[in-house]
Assembly symmetry: C2
Homo-oligomer: 235 residues x 2
DNA sequence: GTCAAGGCGTTCATCCGACGAAGCGCCGGC
DNA sequence: GCCGGCGCTTCGTCGGATGAACGCCTTGAC
């Protein structure tokens, strides 16, 4: 897969930078040296570095070399950057994503309820049926249905930027999501809250949709924090 | 500035793709042909295409050529992509950004009020002072203070992903922002609403902060829509 | 001693020609 | 008609040559 050399360069350097092995301001070795270290040609190094520059991770200037840019200029929502960052997901990062959902999803639910796209709102109801259908199934199935439900809400919100944020976050979060909503009997509890969201969106009740969604994501956040503290106590 | 050839390749092709001059699925010409058309060498073309691939706009496969990817895989929040997209800002796009703010900022204000970082919350109050100080100034000054205020809220929210979304949006939106909050006597009206946000954040009253911020951004959205319809009536 | 101008080395930017690898389709054998 | 191999196209990579920008250091004037 990663047979392409320049991809390897991107992954290798990108991961190092995001992991802070190469702090901001660090001057990278020259292209020739990098080529030697990574066992690739200069072309591959250059293409890789250009990709990283496109993601805002580095900056190259004639005769001045390539240096790592400050974190603020990084494309934090780039798929690769997210992956590198959440590769080893510490609880701090999980909490941050839980916070992000609390900030994002109620507003999305509100927009969804306000949407004039009836089909998209009906899709939320459909996704809700999926939740009911899988509550007794294996956890994996239920999680998939849960993801579909939340995504349907963002789709109904009718804002592709918002949807994009959700998708990126979900992709990065996906790996650890099972860990998130994994308790077996727990599924039922969240169903009622989800149902309220779906009903409110379908009925176009934006305030209710927002409140209900907040209950869902805050519940998830509290669940995560509790689980985390318990895990911390055990280990 | 854009003397670097590969940058020109990125800009040229990227803009075309985002503008949908090159629809998804389109097979780009051969590297050699592209090099000819853009009057650059094959290396420059390759570096440029690699950058675009890094942004998710295109996909290259050995011997199969380079083709434009579906919009869903684009990095919509990439600085370049946003700029290409909002280069000629149609009212539809402005409405979308206004919607996004409605979805985002209340949640951010809520998180800000919940934050334990007292200094960051005080910074919101400080930014509020800036608003009071510039209300009589030239519009440009006030707009700058307004941007600083909203950014301070996101900073206080303590979620760098959320802050990043805000910054990217603001950067893309910046060009047309003057158009947004440009009415002279209008500044005063929004001040009270902003003050409520600042006060609520400082006092840690998250529900109030959220509600007040919603009033601010919904006011801005309504303002924008009204202005737009009026402009539409004139033209 | 101070300062400025110009030469020089470093490093990225680009072009180019060569070769390798991977699909894809054509074409001949059966 | 089916199948396998061959060759063409196109991307992937290499590395040498050249150009351009920038910093540094020498050199010379005052």
């Amino acid at each position: 897969m990663a047979a392409d050399r320049h991809v390897r360069v991107v992954q290798e350097l990108g991961a190092r930078i995001v992991r802070l092995d190469l702090p901001a301001g660090t001057l990278l070795p020259t292209e020739d040296v990098l080529a030697g270290e990574l066992a690739v040609g200069r072309s591959a190094v250059r293409e890789g570095v250009k990709v990283l520059a496109g993601k805002g991770l580095v900056e190259t200037r004639r005769s001045a070399g390539t240096r790592v840019r400050a974190r603020e200029t990084w494309n934090l929502l780039d798929a690769d950057v997210l992956r590198w960052r959440f590769a080893e997901s510490r609880s701090v990062d999980l909490a941050m994503i839980a916070d992000l959902r609390v900030a994002l999803e109620p507003g999305a639910a509100r927009l969804a309820a306000e949407s004039t796209d009836l089909a998209a709102r009906r899709a939320v109801g459909l996704a809700m049926s999926g939740l009911w259908a899988t509550v007794e199934d294996a956890d994996e199935e239920f999680v998939r249905a849960d993801l579909a439900f939340h995504r349907a809400v963002f789709v109904a919100a009718g804002n592709d930027l918002l949807l994009h944020v959700h998708d990126q976050i979900e992709a990065a979060f996906g790996a650890v999501r099972p860990l998130h909503s994994a308790s077996a009997g727990h599924n039922r509890e969240t169903l009622a809250a989800h149902e309220e969201v779906a009903a409110a969106v379908l009925r176009g009740h934006h305030r209710k949709a927002e409140t209900a969604m907040r209950a869902v994501v805050e519940g998830a956040r509290a669940d995560l924090l509790e689980r985390d503290s318990r895990r911390g106590a055990v280990s």
